[in-house]
């Protein structure tokens, strides 16, 4: 079973709008990472948020982590067409493990 899972398979927004991708996980974690994968490329890390952090920002990106509900969100403000990609959350398989478990991803399409 998936240890990490995004809550939507696909989202569409228009350029300039904000969007949030959600993720839930099932085990205790050391950290949760958000990755973005554009077509034909490998995943690129966007944000790493540790279990003792509640929020992390990276430019137009903001990640939150709620360990009590075992959930995380990634918000993108002022979206651009180049934000179109599949967004994955990933957690360590067990606390402190180097093994990452990825969710199935959310396809985000930003339309002009």
């Amino acid at each position: 079973s998936q240890l990490a899972e995004e809550n939507s398979w696909a989202l569409s927004v228009h350029e300039g709008e904000s969007v949030t991708v959600n993720c839930s996980y099932k085990t205790s974690i050391t950290a949760l990472q958000w990755y973005r994968q554009k077509s034909g490329k490998g995943p690129a890390q966007l944000i790493l948020i540790r279990s003792n952090e509640r929020e992390k920002r990276n430019g137009r990106l903001r990640a939150t982590l709620d360990t009590s509900s075992q959930s995380s969100s990634l918000s993108i403000t002022a979206t651009r067409c180049e934000d179109t990609a599949v967004y994955f959350c990933a957690t360590d398989a067990s606390s402190g493990s180097w093994q990452l478990i990825f969710g199935s991803g959310t396809q985000l399409t930003v339309m002009p």
Partner: protein, 114 residues
């Protein structure tokens, strides 16, 4: 910055043949290397995790006999897909880590099996 290169980027092989793919870490020491397969419409399946000075750990449904991996130093790893069949097609990703669960991914090797 930390970069991971993978080659070849694309490869086509006949059913029943084998192919080797390579992974090069630049700008950091890849203490751990994880190989994943991303099949069409699926998320990442972890094949194995290789950590320096430890045995390579294969996940369920993946074996050393089918996917032998070499991790001879902190900047290089290779994996071979032996006797490839249709179900082995997909994007094979190499993720290099420094032992703090952050992984840097290469662009992947896309395997097509005819």
């Amino acid at each position: 910055g930390a970069l991971v290169y993978q080659y070849p980027r694309r490869t086509i092989c006949k059913s029943g043949t084998s192919m080797r793919m390579e992974c090069q870490a630049v700008g950091f020491q890849a203490t751990s290397v994880a190989w994943y397969r991303q099949s069409p419409q699926k998320t990442f399946e972890l094949i194995a995790l290789s950590t320096v000075n430890s045995a390579i750990k294969y996940e369920q449904n993946f074996t050393q006999e089918k996917f032998p991996i070499s991790h001879p130093n902190l900047s290089f790893s290779s994996m071979t897909v032996l006797n490839a069949y249709l179900e082995d097609r997909g994007l094979y990703l190499c993720g290099g880590g420094q032992g703090n669960y952050e992984q840097y991914f290469g662009p992947g090797t896309r395997l097509t099996v005819l």
